[in-house]
Symmetry: D2
Subunit: 345 residues, 4 copies
């Protein structure tokens, strides 16, 4: 079986693993106070235009999301998110567990608009009973979204403008940031991401690392005592250099961008195969996740050789499924899959 079900089903990029092996018998200071974390932060900062950005390395995405969000908010403040946002639908209510309401704005393709956000913020501002409602203070976006779609630079700038107008933080979940930046349709760079947002993270888990998310806090307001928040929330790895080292390897010579771009290209080969077959997309994506609408017989046929993710039954005869490429996908795997797609009845 070949797994296209997600982008976290294999270990780490060989260069990452090799670095871990080479340093395995070295000894380091604990809890992220070590040279590798420092060097990794420096490498990441090179891609930004924000020398004052604080970089912290956390283990996983859910952890990164609720740690940033709960550190940023006061108890009466809340989060604006697409109703498809990972924090709203797949994190076991971790944000609410930290005490904060999510304003889930309707979205079909995983994106929300500046206008939607402004309307929600305006509702609070013009409310006559502000103490009876929560104050939206942070906007959560995913880049790429959970459906593989992308915000354009203009969309991000508009959203950023709304956030600044209403005094809200913009936080970008970059679990799949590499795949977003690497897309043939992307018109934003890491510098743009840093410029428009107050906080974001570069996902490692899905983009070549064994695990790890590099949280970048560009807004100094969010930097205060952040290590205390990490520790209290269980996100401070004792052997923190394992995180720093991985990100150093991924960012030093741009490996992070190279391997995710390649995965996007592989995904485009899958996309093309489905298009040629006139199999419809549930949502059109130009990144490593492809959501297609398969007939039951097609689904069963492909399931004989491939693992892909079942999303939703659409009607008696059709379902939405996801095919996912990653930094570990090979041309051979793509060739096999695209041939089998073309061979579908």
């Amino acid at each position: 079986m070949i797994r296209f079900n997600n982008d976290y089903n294999r270990g780490a990029h060989p260069a990452v693993l090799e670095a871990l092996a080479q340093t395995n018998s070295e000894s380091y200071g604990g809890y992220g106070i070590d040279p590798w974390c420092e060097k990794a932060a420096e490498e990441i900062r090179k891609y930004l235009d924000c020398p004052e950005a604080a970089v912290h390395f956390l283990v996983g995405g859910t952890q990164a999301n609720f740690t940033v969000i709960s550190a940023a908010l006061r108890p009466y403040q809340s989060v604006i998110s697409a109703d498809t946002g990972h924090i709203h639908v797949h994190e076991t209510g971790a944000v609410e567990h930290c005490g904060h309401k999510i304003h889930a704005l309707p979205s079909r393709d995983g994106k929300i608009t500046a206008a939607q956000i402004a309307a929600e913020a305006e509702k609070y501002c013009t409310s006559g009973v502000q103490e009876h409602i929560t104050q939206p203070k942070l906007v959560y976006l995913s880049f790429t979204t959970e459906y593989g779609t992308l915000y354009s630079r203009q969309e991000l700038e508009e959203i950023s403008d709304v956030c600044r107008k209403y005094g809200m933080y913009l936080f970008i979940d970059g679990a799949r940031l590499g795949y977003g930046l690497g897309s043939c349709m992307a018109d934003v760079t890491l510098k743009d991401i840093a410029r428009v947002s107050d906080a974001f993270y570069c996902g490692g888990t899905k983009c070549g690392a064994l695990f790890g998310e590099a949280v970048v806090l560009t807004n100094p307001e969010l930097q205060d005592h952040f290590r205390s928040h990490i520790k209290q929330n269980g996100g401070m790895l004792a052997k923190g250099w394992l995180l720093g080292l991985q990100f150093y390897v991924l960012f030093k010579d741009g490996l992070y961008f190279e391997i995710t771009k390649k995965a996007d290209e592989f995904a485009m080969q899958i996309k093309k195969a489905f298009e040629e077959k006139e199999i419809p997309f549930y949502i059109e994506s130009f990144t490593n996740q492809q959501f297609v609408v398969l007939e039951n017989s097609q689904m069963e046929k492909l399931a004989q050789k491939y693992v892909f993710e079942f999303e939703e039954r659409l009607d008696d005869n059709h379902s939405c499924v996801r095919f996912c490429t990653s930094w570990s996908t090979t041309q051979e795997e793509i060739d096999a899959l695209t041939a089998d797609i073309r061979g579908l009845k």
Copy 2:
């Protein structure tokens, strides 16, 4: 100015106040361990068919809501509510502050259906990733709803059946319970409320008391250490007998039901006046809250003599407003208002 803006703008029913005055120099045990709380609980239980029901007296509605909900749930569990539910829209995120997500189901008139609830519960049951999502474990209804509408006995029974099928608790917010039971369109009694639900409360604040909500826990599972939950959440009044005494006076001879029924009848007089004038209702209600769509000029005219609640601007020329009667409304106030409604241009 005559206030029709809400049902909590005056003190207490004279009988309640008199009882407070008469006992003012008596001394009692603290924190709800006193004869009045005991007697009040007994009086309330007479209306139920549930001798094992536990009755606790809390000060306010928001407090009652989050105390019951957070006592009932484990951290990974969540609440199903109408998106118009008070806990979702007017309690500053108190339920989320206690750590729990709300599944807000769409509703126009304040009500949700058994089918909606079942669909939401089913989503969890059939999910392949249960540990990534919260488990809906409690259904929150308001009776009357925030729009003055009523669930019928059949609707409540259907919802109750769904709750039992999926192992969920049914909790009924009865801040306006009296006005619900007293409506000319109601086909349920307090006995029905107790039978279909696992917990509910009889609102005092809006129904004749100075303050206070009588929480009734019919399901023994919810009774364990409930006083600890009350205390921890700041809801345990030192002079608890003040609550017990008020509810004793209200329930002993059915005063609670009598005064709220009267308020409903007053509301029907207002309703009739608007109907005669062909002023449309935002939502049709047969209880003490009347939501009408007024033209700007009508709104300005009435605002000269009456305080009513502005709800929402509907278009350039129309707004939704609420007129509210209560146990303290008088026939004279109604006569004045209905005459002025009839006199509108």
Copy 3:
């Protein structure tokens, strides 16, 4: 039976009750936005030297404590308290429930010293692992303490200096503030309390009101969105004017100070009776709470006519018990008790 067990076993001072009766049929705006709350705040501010102080009326003490504390702190911050402090021993862990650790400093008489506080703050400041420990950010004192003892003006100023030096807030629980200020041994005024602290409250529940605590936030940093915190924590009374009105009556002509001073004087009569009898004090107090060490036979004898609070069994033959006077205690009650004390064998 005559109750000396606590200072909250009777209703309200007659003047308070009368005011409630006189305004009972008036109608007011909800949630503390009404003329009585405004006027009461003004009256209280007259006793301070702090025109910018914000005054909020909450229902009870536990609620006031955790609402102020959780509003003041960030998640990684903690509270310094005597290990006898009410928040540490009698509030069902409400502060921890809000997410904050309490540093419980050893105390025998309910008081802690500036030196103890400074040492605890210094521990954090000099720690090499700050992100692994919580930051003490608020000092909680009770005035009078849970043992009826008093801080002198000098002690309060020293503590205040330590707090300012280490950037910590000073919060004074004034559930029994009146009894503290009214003591023959007190050398502080309400003005001093306001000057040395960042927040405090004037207890109503134990000092003449039916219920209610007037929270005074002298430090503007603590004032932001405080009404949102109150509402979210269930402390916002719908009929807020009931609180404002009571405090207006109590503070307008100094009634608050007069009735608590009287109760202190009554307590001194009890104290004298025990002294004459050479019955030892568990802790010497010059306020309305008297803690004495009784022999079992003495305890049994007095228990035939009086309700008092059992505190602790000290040995096979002795126990610590509390006698409490209040605004509602009468000279007749005192005469009876002191006679019976003198008659003990």
Copy 4:
């Protein structure tokens, strides 16, 4: 510089790293649903006498502690711990952040006794105001303790008996479990640990793994929806097999026990060197952590070649410091250190 400052300053045991390398290009299911987690759980269960034990793999110790504790407790329940316990002193208040109070019992050597625990539990049981205090429901022990000391089998059995008598859970923090079991003074086995407790974990981070803690829930009451708790608290690793694989390698042939025992033996060589030099111990330990009282000059001398952990300044001329061995310590490192100890003036 040779690091003796802690037991987490190097990567992983070579066998662990090799296993990671060998499986790096294999693909697996996510979130701990994979063959390695299953096999590792099986291997661990072989050491227990508890076939129904649930085994979950979390990333770190703080996370494991608060996840187990908050999953086990209801909001009004609390934890008993030594005042030296890791959860009380070095986890940034994570347990309180989850809403639970810690009863910190005095301890000099890191241990608490069955009698201390029983007394604390008894206080709750005999309290007349149970709803005003929290209910101690879980006892937290560390094995080895934070000072390297050990509970004997008899001590554990006595504590376990007290826990069962009072209906409390016993949870053992096994971050250094291997070093405890491997001590020449230990008289307990993993089977004993499982028998006396309701939950415990086998630390990986400090005992040969790159990271990871294997939480074992022997009491079925604690097993319900535990994966939901893990996910909500950010402890569910996407590539969960990385944890399973490491524990499989460590437990399959007893490597875990072998390498920690070796580290204990190394520590005994250090202990002997200090003893010969008549340098006093702060606390006597027979495990991998050695706490000694050094003169300033001795400390400075050793600090030229070795990194060790400064604990506490004892007086002008003496400090308590910690020397720590681990699975990665070599005989050469020990020889160098012991020679230098012997060479101290």
